[in-house]
């Protein structure tokens, strides 16, 4: 296994299928997938996530869908996991044609898949997709669970198509104008271009909440002073700065899971 990859966590809601699909498509394009392979990836990931949206969480509060994509030398390993009720096969009911088509689609378009899980333990669908690519490795670390869209990716070029597509999907959903979408993508590009040493563990962690029409972007965890250096890096020629592009900029300190406080940069962008 290589150390590069993408991890993404979204709430199990129909409107997030496009977010996952666009993130994976951007990642696959960055890795070197051709158009057909990207199209197949989009289909199998959507079908796997749809299974989680429809079946994992029967109540009103959607739980997480955790998606990971791990490129290897000749294939990509994709995992779609929920924390719901677990895979419980049952006959399709009338009008549920999609249930009879989804898994066959994954079987036909992937180069192998398996479903694991048990009642109460969630379901994981692992899929393998063969491809050829040029080598341009990066690295990744796990993302925290979240109700927004959470991703963790190495700084640099490979992350740009992923983040720009995720932002594009969320901004479109929030009715952003083209100009505001461009501003938001610009912020994402600048964050990914920032010195990796300012991110704890060398990975760019980004969480985006989009519930109220704005995009609430949380960047981190960062090393001490990382927020200020990111903000300084976004002072652009002509007087443009992140503080002008965003409606709200905040440096936050929050306790980590193992105790010490960590620094985050919070940026809110309005439509």
């Amino acid at each position: 296994m290589t150390s590069e990859g993408l991890r993404l966590t979204v709430a199990a809601m129909p409107e997030n299928l496009a977010v996952v699909r666009q993130a994976l498509a951007g990642f696959a394009e960055g890795v070197g997938f051709d158009d057909n392979a990207v199209a197949n990836l989009k289909t199998i990931v959507t079908e796997a996530c749809m299974n989680a949206v429809v079946h994992a969480y029967p109540g009103d509060e959607p739980g997480p869908i955790e998606v990971s994509a791990q490129p290897h030398s000749d294939h990509m390993q994709i995992s779609v996991r929920d924390r719901g009720e677990g895979f419980q096969p049952r006959p399709a009911e009338p009008g549920e044609d999609s249930l009879r088509i989804g898994l066959p689609l994954i079987a036909a378009l992937s180069d192998g898949f398996e479903i694991s899980g048990a009642p109460g333990d969630g379901t994981e669908i692992k899929m393998r997709l063969a491809y050829e690519r040029a080598d341009n490795g990066t690295a990744v670390a796990p993302a925290p669970q979240t109700v927004g869209t959470s991703m963790s990716i190495a700084p640099g070029e490979l992350g740009r198509p992923v983040l720009s597509r995720v932002i594009g999907a969320l901004a479109t959903r929030a009715d952003f104008s083209i100009d505001r979408l461009s501003d938001t993508v610009l912020i994402g590009d600048a964050v990914l271009a920032h010195d990796a040493d300012d991110f704890s563990g060398g990975m760019v962690g980004i969480e985006i909440l989009d519930g109220d029409g704005s995009l609430d972007i949380r960047i981190g965890p960062l090393v001490e002073g990382g927020s200020d250096r990111i903000l300084a890096g976004l002072e652009l020629p002509g007087g443009t700065s992140l503080r002008r592009l965003a409606s709200e900029v905040e440096v936050k300190r929050e306790p980590s899971a193992d105790g010490p406080e960590q620094e985050f940069l919070r940026v809110v962008v309005d439509p």
């Binding site: 129909p14 409107e15 299928l17 496009a18 699909r21 666009q22 498509a25 158009d35 057909n36 199209a39 197949n40 989009k42 289909t43 959507t46 079908e47 749809m50 949206v53 429809v54 009008g95 549920e96 044609d97 999609s98 249930l99 088509i101 989804g102 066959p104 689609l105 036909a108 378009l109 597509r165 594009g168 999907a169 479109t172 959903r173």
Partner: protein
């Protein structure tokens, strides 16, 4: 990528043509089901034109299959159009064997005429 949109037009002979653009999945499936149900209930033949769709998933295919079944039960003509070429939707229809079972026509005009013919064929049985 573009947000998924669904529009409905009237073609020659009162055929309702439901046109897709952008990407469609479980998020837009309820709207599609609503549009399809209205079109079938309106009484004329129905055409689903997928040529402008950039992506469809199994929930969309399920909605189209259900509408086709409903149309057949009510004696309405029903056809699907998908233009020629390397289309992102084509592969999904091929691997599910729906390209031949629906069947899929290579132009909107052909689909409209087939839907009209289908309606006329079934009309005497009512």
């Amino acid at each position: 990528m573009g947000p998924g949109e669904i529009s409905i037009d009237r073609a020659e002979g009162g055929v309702a043509v439901i046109t897709f653009s952008g990407e469609h999945d479980l998020n837009t499936a309820p709207e599609l089901r609503q549009r399809l149900a209205e079109a079938v209930e309106d009484g004329g033949p129905v055409v689903v034109d997928l040529s402008g769709a950039a992506f469809i998933d199994s929930s969309i295919i399920g909605a189209v299959l259900d509408a086709r079944r409903e149309a057949q039960e009510q004696g309405r003509g029903f056809a699907v159009a998908l233009s020629d070429g390397a289309h992102p939707v084509e592969r999904v229809l091929e691997v599910t064997n729906l390209a031949t079972t629906l069947p899929v026509h290579r132009s909107r005009e052909k689909a409209v005429s087939e839907a009209q013919a289908g309606a006329e064929e079934q009309a005497p049985r009512q």
